[in-house]
């Protein structure tokens, strides 16, 4: 079955591959329902970020990132306070609108106060056979963090095994890890093309591909990405890299995607980011050797810093300055979701570090559920004009 699908995909050209990925980003639910029809398997939903999809995949389930874009806030407002972030509110709304009723399970990582409580509400309003919190350690430098996380991953693994009625074999987990490592590598290569030649792969298409990756069966996805990369790599050679305003985006989630159009149309390019639905999703591979659970632990403890994740050895503010310098970025956009308190509390430190380093930065606040795009465009364009001086008129 899998073989046939991969062969089928093999006949596609790069544009068709890109179209399929765009379509998957637009209609994520279709990916899951189609997979269910073909395999009769179970779909385990998860919220961003850092959920070990490799474990879900090794259990034979399809991991599915719940997409908050289609949510209507009025559905969530009856159950969740309006000062919770719009990502959480919209994700719950998507469930309440019965747009993800194909889910057999849900895993919510505890990354903030809202996600700590969300599963409890979800259990009441849309109960599913498997519902778990993934309790991440926050202070990852503590000697106990690794042992704690190992226990937590064992607990999640056991729950998946119970649900499946069968153990997850070590070999299967290692295979899933290899598949996901390969996938991340392909996504990073495409990210590189976007940096080098946004004319060939726009920032918006790149983030759509990442979005598609979060819902698509990995085997099918890797095939499409390989084809796309092979062709785009050739196309990229036809373009000399125009002088562009190189930007780093730091924050929670990229929303709305139009932000990337505003950057590209003003001659900007995203050279790095630390977003949950951006580079954070593809940055950290898992060691192929040894105990696979321990490898998953080590991956988690060594990830890039985030607002919900404290690393004394690698402070986020310093990390971001270093990242901006390494990538020769002219400026940093802090992209915050309204009411995302971990990100907001981090901001002061991050902004101070940028000021000290002489790197211009701007804070832009967005939300799921529609924000005025005209104002967003003015902010982004004005920031790029500020970086670009004389080239401002377009």
């Amino acid at each position: 079955m899998l073989q046939n699908r991969e062969e089928g995909a093999g006949n596609l050209n790069s544009l068709e591959a890109l179209e399929i990925l765009r379509e998957a980003a637009e209609n994520p639910a279709r990916q899951a329902t189609q997979w269910q029809e073909e395999h009769g398997g179970k779909v385990i939903g998860f919220l961003l970020s850092d959920v070990p999809e490799e474990l879900i995949h090794a259990a034979g389930f399809l991991p599915y990132a719940v997409n908050a874009e289609e949510g209507k806030l009025e559905f969530a407002d009856a159950h969740l306070q309006t000062w919770a972030c719009s990502f959480s509110r919209n994700a719950l709304a998507v469930a309440l609108q019965d747009k993800i009723s194909f889910l057999d399970g849900l895993i919510i990582p505890q990354t903030c106060d809202t996600t700590r409580m969300l599963l409890g509400i979800w259990k009441h309003v849309r109960p599913l056979p498997l519902m778990e919190n993934y309790r991440l350690p926050r202070q990852v430098d503590r000697p106990s963090a690794g042992a704690y996380l190992y226990g937590e991953l064992e607990r999640i693994k056991k729950r998946l095994e119970e649900f499946r009625g069968k153990k997850i074999e070590e070999g299967a987990l290692k295979n899933s890890i290899a598949l996901y490592n390969h996938n991340r590598q392909l996504l990073r290569q495409l990210y590189g093309i976007q940096v080098e030649a946004p004319q060939v792969l726009s920032s918006k298409d790149l983030f759509k591909i990442i979005k598609a990756a979060m819902v698509m069966p990995r085997e099918k996805l890797n095939q499409l990405l390989r084809q796309l990369f092979a062709v785009l790599k050739e196309e990229k050679e036809c373009f000399t890299r125009a002088s562009r305003h190189q930007l780093v985006i730091s924050g929670t989630l990229l929303e709305p995607l139009e932000l990337l159009d505003f950057i590209n149309e003003k001659g900007g390019v995203v050279v790095a980011d630390d977003l949950k639905n951006g580079f954070r999703y593809l940055e950290a591979d898992v060691a192929a050797n040894g105990d696979p659970l321990e490898a998953l632990v080590q991956r988690q403890l060594k990830r890039m810093p985030a607002a919900f994740y404290e690393i004394r050895e690698k402070r986020r503010a310093e990390y971001l300055v270093k990242l901006a310098r390494e990538k020769e970025a002219g400026g940093v956009i802090f992209l915050h979701l309204k009411f995302c308190e971990p990100e907001n509390y981090d901001y002061y430190d991050n902004m101070q570090a940028m000021e000290k380093a002489g790197i211009p930065a701007i804070r832009i606040e967005t939300a799921y559920g529609g924000i005025p795009l005209g104002q967003l465009q003015t902010r982004v364009h004005a920031f790029i004009e500020m970086l670009g001086g004389e080239d401002a008129v377009r």
């Binding site: 211009p360 701007i362 606040e365 924000i371 005025p372 005209g374 104002q375 003015t378 902010r379 364009h381 004005a382 920031f383 004009e385 500020m386 001086g389 004389e390 401002a392 008129v393 377009r394």
Partner: protein, 258 residues
């Protein structure tokens, strides 16, 4: 060299014609529903006043909230950069620019060449802008032209908590029924509005000289409240609503000169 700058604002559309860097004509029209039409009218009016033809212009740049719908302009520039350039031309010593228009208020930090060093824009809220004053004028049964003068006669301020035009209006109505003197309510409204704008200025850091532009700069009550809030004297250009159009015309000159 002759260039034109258009500022397609939310309420009014302005055009400035520059000849060798000096203003030779300016015109203003209400933006209305059809911003392209308003821009065309302001543009033609300015050309007529300057006794010029479109063919005489080396380049035209448009700025303002409606800039993307103005099809006949050759270049676009954001309101932020346009304001900075316009102010720098008139006040080279200005380091802080405050622009308060109909729907948008922002604060800029600029250098001696008129380049933007930092900026802050109000967050999708009308509480610090011209439309807020219009709404409050209606509640006080006065006009937007009168409300500033009225506030200068106010003796005291009452705290206003509302951060939103809709809530502020009901708060004002409560004050009317309290009853609080009309001029005191007017003063309180201006103080509340100034605090929204001063928060933007504090975010980027206050540096002298401070210049205010945009339609709300015509309101002496607001300027006074903002001066008291920030503790500085604020400079006002002769035609504060035309400064962004001037900035766009200057940018057009740079573009044509390249």
């Amino acid at each position: 060299m002759i260039t034109a700058g258009i500022d397609a604002g939310n309420k009014t559309t302005k055009t400035v014609i520059l000849k060798n860097g000096e203003i030779i004509a300016r015109a203003l029209k209400p933006s209305g529903f059809d911003q392209e039409k308003a821009a065309r009218e302001a543009f033609n009016e300015a050309l007529r006043l300057a006794n010029l033809d479109v063919a005489d212009l080396a380049y035209t740049v448009v700025t303002g909230a409606g800039k993307h719908v103005i099809s006949f302009a050759e270049g676009h520039l954001t309101e932020v950069s346009a304001a900075a350039r316009g102010v720098n031309k008139l006040f080279p010593e200005a380091r802080t620019v405050i622009d308060v228009g109909e729907e948008e208020g922002f604060a800029l930090k600029i250098d001696k060449e008129g380049k933007v060093v930092d900026f802050a824009i109000n967050e999708k809220c009308a509480a610090g802008t011209g439309s807020f004053l219009e709404s409050m004028s209606r509640a006080l049964e006065t006009t937007v032209e009168e409300i500033g003068q009225l506030s200068l006669r106010g003796k005291k301020t009452v705290p206003m908590n509302a951060q939103c035009v809709v809530f502020a209006e009901s708060e004002v109505i409560s004050l009317i029924h309290a009853p609080v003197a009309k001029e005191d309510i007017a003063k309180s409204i201006h103080v509340a509005m100034a605090s929204r704008i001063s928060a933007l200025v504090r975010r980027i850091g206050l540096e002298k000289e401070v210049v205010i532009i945009g339609g709300v700069a015509h309101n002496p009550g607001f300027v006074r409240a903002l001066e008291e809030d920030l503790g500085v004297e604020i400079l006002i250009p002769a035609y504060p609503d035309y400064i962004s159009a001037l900035g766009a015309a200057l940018a057009a000159g740079e573009k044509a000169g390249v």
